[in-house]
Symmetry: C2
Subunit: 458 residues, 2 copies
Amino acid sequence: MSKIDAIPYKIYLSENEMPKAWYNVRHAMKNKPAPLLNPGTGKPMTAEELASVFCEELVKQELDNETEYFPIPEEIYNFYKMYRPSPLVRAYCLEKALDTPAHIYYKFEGNNTSGSHKLNSSIAQAYYAKKQGLKGVTTETGAGQWGTALSMACAYMGLDCKVFMVKVSYEQKPFRREVMRTYGADVTPSPSMTTNIGRKILSEFPDTTGSLGCAISEAVEVAVSTPGYRYVLGSVLNQVLLHQSVIGLETEAALKKYDIVPDIIIGCAGGGSNLGGLISPFMRDKINGKLNARIIAVEPASCPSLTRGVYAYDFCDTGMVCPLAKMYTLGSSFMPAPNHAGGLRYHGMSSILSQLYDDGYMEAVSAVQTDVFKAAEQFARVEGILPAPESSHAIKVAIDEALKCKQTGEAKNIVFGLTGTGYFDLVAYQKYNDGLMDDYIPTDEDLKASIAKLPKIG
Amino acid sequence: MSKIDAIPYKIYLSENEMPKAWYNVRHAMKNKPAPLLNPGTGKPMTAEELASVFCEELVKQELDNETEYFPIPEEIYNFYKMYRPSPLVRAYCLEKALDTPAHIYYKFEGNNTSGSHKLNSSIAQAYYAKKQGLKGVTTETGAGQWGTALSMACAYMGLDCKVFMVKVSYEQKPFRREVMRTYGADVTPSPSMTTNIGRKILSEFPDTTGSLGCAISEAVEVAVSTPGYRYVLGSVLNQVLLHQSVIGLETEAALKKYDIVPDIIIGCAGGGSNLGGLISPFMRDKINGKLNARIIAVEPASCPSLTRGVYAYDFCDTGMVCPLAKMYTLGSSFMPAPNHAGGLRYHGMSSILSQLYDDGYMEAVSAVQTDVFKAAEQFARVEGILPAPESSHAIKVAIDEALKCKQTGEAKNIVFGLTGTGYFDLVAYQKYNDGLMDDYIPTDEDLKASIAKLPKIG
């Protein structure tokens, strides 16, 4: 039996094969990501300025483009061991159902109560907050994966956790809210009357169901105005991609165990945390000419920042209290259609990924949500796991690529990130099951309008 | 470093260490479980009689008290590999939180979309149905774990799946229903107008919210009256405990890897499928005098079949269409109070476990649900996993035993079954979080009334 034939359904690393340090892909980048700018001065944010919003250690990680590896502190490492290493799964059943010669692998990050990869960064951020002697942290959450992950991490570290949850999700996803409460978090629907920005938005738009950008503004306001508090964010930032590199490092180690060289690496992309983490070590090899793989970002057609956005400085939030980031963006006033159920609704994209995309190291494609749910259902029925809508964007493109291999007869190695489970997305699945889901693609005029509102900087 | 110190957070077996055969604990039992009786004749059910309800191969497994091992067919084995082996987790964080010298281990069966151990038997039952050339299967589901597990297995095997879901759950757990529909199942609220027994019950009790016993009757009626269909059941039966022995065999193999000898083994007990599967190989050693461990069944104080029931022949369903089983029972007319949120609401207990309990090989304790949810929350906050209410009964008693070790200073090895996750039980968690959950313990008069209705047989 050849080594390839012996590949198990799930490649598990042992605990001592888990990465001991996070990998910083900025070290390998020839063009570094653009710095965050102070919206008042237009100058790069200094460590001092950032320290009023973020923990000190995280500010260092945010600004450091040179250090290649950051050791994972022991307490974080021990927490990781409760749900990591995560399996790299060989999708034998999907391959059989597609009748493809391709070998499909997925890195499954959903085997934890938060249901997604977000826990990899939330525990790190909670740890540094605790280490700094803080009392608590604030954050926003949309679908609720990040809020859940942060609640779990704060319960473990003994930190207070205030979550601003987009109002429509707060009302439509009461179970997500209850998980957070079970972990001891204080969950407020956003916009709320507890902040200046919330009161302002509610006075202008009393019927608003909220947005991620608005919830960010509220969370930041509370963090900077409450002694002993800082703000934490689950995606987009450099520090988050650093923590999420644990996904890519484990994937790399698991593939190496069986001498598997990936031909195509696929990840869904909202703010970019999962994709950035998954591809980090592979991107290093690609930049250095050691790996020839295609790297594909998949985004929803309803919120297409890479495929239809512009590369420019923009606000990260609606209230415009956050620093400016240079990124592929649709403009901070862009709102995906309310019928969009597939997650990944952020208007911008991680600065690291934006730069890599701009430099040509990465491709991007978009998918409409009915295609995404169709792929999700097909995957669920043969592979067992009910995937999150976000993750299903990657499934959709992995299936497309595997079917191309069927045409060409190539046995390509396709690796994709399965970021989480869909247990809390069953309203969306119900819509799909009932045939009530439709697709929305913003018009060029829609995008022109929101892009026209970009700040005139950079 | 001693071998004990090197115990990882999670002990994973490799795929080739997975058990190749199910273990039949009846082989080791000195007193075999009592046979199923034909309610009409009072005589033991023959294979022919059972074959109108169950698949042939499953009838053989049901009646066979002698064969020690049943090889696991390759197709089932390949399905198992998608989500098994499941981890045996060392609860380091819980031990630390309790400040106990005890070593706590739990076998976690929730890492699959059905969210519980039920998949171990549903795939086996679906496989044998398909092998027999059947078109589909029928079943009932209460909380929905079994219905979900069966839907997944039928999707994989290409079988139709008709699920009668207790009406109150159908309405209160729409997400469970949607998972089943995503896997292609046909889900009907029970009682329904589609069966004779359903129509009869609805004409007598038009406002009933249904019960497990009634849903069983409907599912059996459809199975025996529809060509190409059979009925499948997720607990209680001997065949189900046989399939679930994979839990115990993996646990045994994982403990042996690190020379760990269990002192206490704890499982929650509703119909007995998880507990029976977990303890099977350990019970063999206990019967044979090779193991001195305590084995503890934990049941809800609101449905206490072992601790307050009688050992007698009883109906398995409300419609009295099923064979009679000898078991610890509260009477088939017993209904747990509607405020009971903790699962495990079946009036009887597996015949195998009933006999083992009656023979003194097993202890039983009961717990009230607020204590169970308190333990669940404590566990979730330190171990990360949000446990199912059912599983949390075992957590509660594991914590109690670990705290006793703290008193005595003993480093006992405590092993318990964590059967599933609580993702679909958040209505119950919300009730607990809001302080609205109360406890219910049936009075002696309640139990006397339902026990008085037992059939006069055996």
